[in-house]
Homo-oligomer: 465 residues x 2
């Protein structure tokens, strides 16, 4: 295990009465053990098929890697069409492991196609994409587990049509691969009929737990990201999550601390990485934490309306935006810092003789500065008696990123078990989907359309009309 969790500032010893008592671990031993047992005994079963992702078969991995190499050699642009769990893992890992300005690098320095993850249906954004890619050298991955996601199917229809016009019907098929559930759904049927390359998503791998399945691995392979390193790190997180002693099991430990913070009135969890390379890890984490734990009923059918709202923040940037609120506002949040011990390169703050000022900065490095600001912010929160803990990565690389992803997924699964809810469903999004179908005039949704149209609305409550 490379990842470290420093939870000093969650405890009374650091932040006084607003903190957690050391006795918590003894008092909660059974609840914590039960959660660990429940999650670990279900590995590979039902909706925990994601636990097996790090152990993908050699043949399946080889197929993904060779496909990636082949596309990488031909593609100038690589476009992922997907949304939610089909997009957030790729966005987070690409940003962490590729050059921070990847798409702007000249192709000889880039060594991989430009990457676009299209996770919205904004017409202005879709047209903007067409302005910067050349269909002749653009390759696409259409990702939807169900094979029915309206947003992704719409993008697919537009792209496939444009491809045919640009390179012809036969060649167009070569530019598209799909990642979906084998044998099921609209996208699968279309892919078989059209002869697209197909990658499968396991039946029990939910979208937000799919980053280490082909959903994420195919794009990573195309971009030349160290897939084996990612899986090795994830396997290490998987091993750590088996550890019986909560003090040695980071995912179980932070799950217990976060669930306790919820009971203490913290309904907000701020994710604050101190590295631009990790900024989209927050988006990945936010989906995982929000969609998994935000539930109306528990496993006994009791109405609980539980959930902790994740908030994205970035160090040091948001010290100048959010930290005022964190230190002085309500005692309603717990901050998770992501710290990096060693940045991948160095930047010296020039010691310009002619500038007769900034002596404490001159000759220092940005590395020292960002680390000092992280320590200072953590100290300021501690001094203001605010709950916070730090996940420490020794460096951002494939292995540590893989371990971080695994850690997040196990932490979420453990927390869901502690809350006695279904971590893996999302019934709350159905109403919106149905209403969308209704408004688009889909057959079978006439009653829903009538219902939506009958919603109360008065111009009396519209200002500016």
């Amino acid at each position: 295990m490379k990842l470290k969790v420093d939870y000093n500032n969650m405890m009374k010893s650091s932040i006084g009465s607003k903190g957690i008592d050391d006795g918590f671990f003894a008092d909660s031993a059974k609840a914590i053990d039960d959660a660990r047992e429940k999650v670990n005994s279900s590995r590979g079963k039902g909706w925990q098929e994601w636990c097996e992702s790090p152990y993908i078969s050699k043949s399946e991995l080889d197929d993904i890697l060779s496909y990636g190499e082949q596309v990488r050699s031909k593609a100038d642009s690589y476009v992922v069409l997907g949304i939610g769990g089909s997009a957030l893992g790729a966005i987070a890992v690409n940003n962490a492991l590729l050059h921070l300005r990847h798409n702007e690098l000249p192709s000889d320095k880039r060594k991989a196609p430009k990457i676009y993850v299209e996770d919205n249906v904004d017409p202005e954004r879709m047209n903007a994409l067409f302005d910067v890619i050349d269909m002749k050298t653009a390759y696409f991955n259409v990702i939807t587990k169900s094979g029915e996601t309206s947003e992704t199917l719409s993008q697919f229809l537009i792209i496939y049509d444009a491809l045919k016009k640009a390179v012809g019907a036969k060649e167009a098929k070569e530019h598209i691969a799909v990642t979906t559930t084998i044998g099921k759904g609209t996208l699968y049927d279309v892919a078989v009929k059209e002869g697209f390359k197909i990658f499968g998503v396991g039946k029990g791998v939910g979208g937000r737990f799919s980053v280490l399945s082909p959903v994420g691995l195919v794009p990573f392979a195309v971009l030349g990201i160290d897939v084996k390193g990612l899986l090795k790190g994830a396997a290490s997180a998987s091993d750590s999550a088996l550890e019986k002693d909560v003090k040695k099991n980071p995912a179980l430990l932070s799950a217990a601390l976060l669930v306790e913070s919820m009971k203490m009135g913290c309904n907000i969890n701020v994710m604050m990485p101190y590295a631009d390379s990790l900024r989209y890890m927050s988006d990945f984490y936010c989906q995982l934490w929000a969609e998994s734990l935000g539930k109306a009923v528990d496993n006994d059918g009791k109405t609980v309306n539980v959930g902790q709202t994740p908030a994205k923040s970035l160090g040091v940037t948001d010290q100048h935006s959010q930290v005022q609120l964190y230190t002085e506002g309500p005692f309603d949040k717990v901050v998770t810092f992501l710290a990096v011990e060693k940045y991948r390169n160095k930047c010296v703050i020039s010691d310009l003789k002619e500038i007769d000022a900034c002596d404490f900065l001159k000759g220092n490095t940005m590395n020292t500065l960002i680390s000092a600001e992280f320590e200072a912010t953590r100290y300021a929160l501690m001094k203001a008696n605010r709950l916070n803990f730090t996940v420490v990565l020794e460096e951002v690389n494939a292995e540590t990123v893989g371990e971080l992803l695994g850690y997040f997924m196990y932490q979420t699964a453990f927390a869901g078990a502690m809350l006695n809810i279904d971590t893996f469903n999302q019934p709350g999004v159905e109403e919106g989907k149905k209403a969308t179908f209704a408004m688009l005039g889909r057959k079978g949704y006439e009653a829903k359309l009538a219902e939506v149209k009958a919603a109360p609305h008065t111009d009396k409550y519209v200002c500016g009309k």
Copy 2:
């Protein structure tokens, strides 16, 4: 006034007992009037100098516009060095009004330099910038109101050194402009000594209220953004904020509704635009709302630890990430939707005969789809009795964006007045700044360093060590 606020779903008539009673406006009439009076009577005074931004003098504006034109004709890259209020306005407006893939467009289609707003001190990010810009054609704007911001001064030292090496000491001066308080601070002194072009920030214009001051206007002018349109829209918001009838004053109205939501237990305010062009408006809004309202004490010195935590979300993207929590989780949030009536272009979902599926999508447009999904999500939240209201822009353009910025600033000022706090200070960030100085060994901070080093910490609370 072009902007509309639809607050049906804040009221009992739409969401039942979780909503606000129509009697609220009569009951709160005095508090609302007092807040309006307090803010409007202070326009242009003290920390409300920002209220005058839309009425910048012709000479000052001409200077900014001609400087912008001149840099635009020479620069291939334009880099803003700034953080917090010196960066977020530029990021939000650039993304709203430039092409969504601006930096990736070929220069003939771009018609303006590539834009980089560097608001962090991550060494990896700084080095990544050097990999994609050519110092010979890169121009810089160093922005810090106080002239003392460590992050920005560090960036300046690095950039100025690199510029001198690339183009020589004399030419380097031509590549740098600074925006700071005239006559005060380290950056001002350096700029005078080195002979940089200087733009001034008004004494009473705080960072998070400075987007329509030279802090934002200079970058906008360089990028060829319609500055006069922005100011016209902001002036319209300024006029609307004078309106005595709260039902006709959108900023006052939404401030009253949001403050009421806080009293009803909503300590979270989700900002959810349904347009990629507005996604960074959320970051601008989040600083404004968090830093202005997150305060420990009120104007009478009473400890209140007040504040509503802003959370960024994007439609439709986050329907697949956060909406599960919004509809089923705790009744602890109010959602502000930003809706667009007319997108700037159209994208037809191709009606491919050979795809025997997706009939309800084929032939439709993404415009219809994203609007239907917005309506459906708003409906689903309403049906789940969740507080939400919608700010409607007829289109995203300079005028509507300027009005939106003005609306956000007045809404914040009115809310601060209703909460009886100092909307314009940020005492909570001082501790972190001092601790940073201490850790960097700055003279005069020896005692603070000792204090920081004496902070309680035990390896017992570090997992993985």
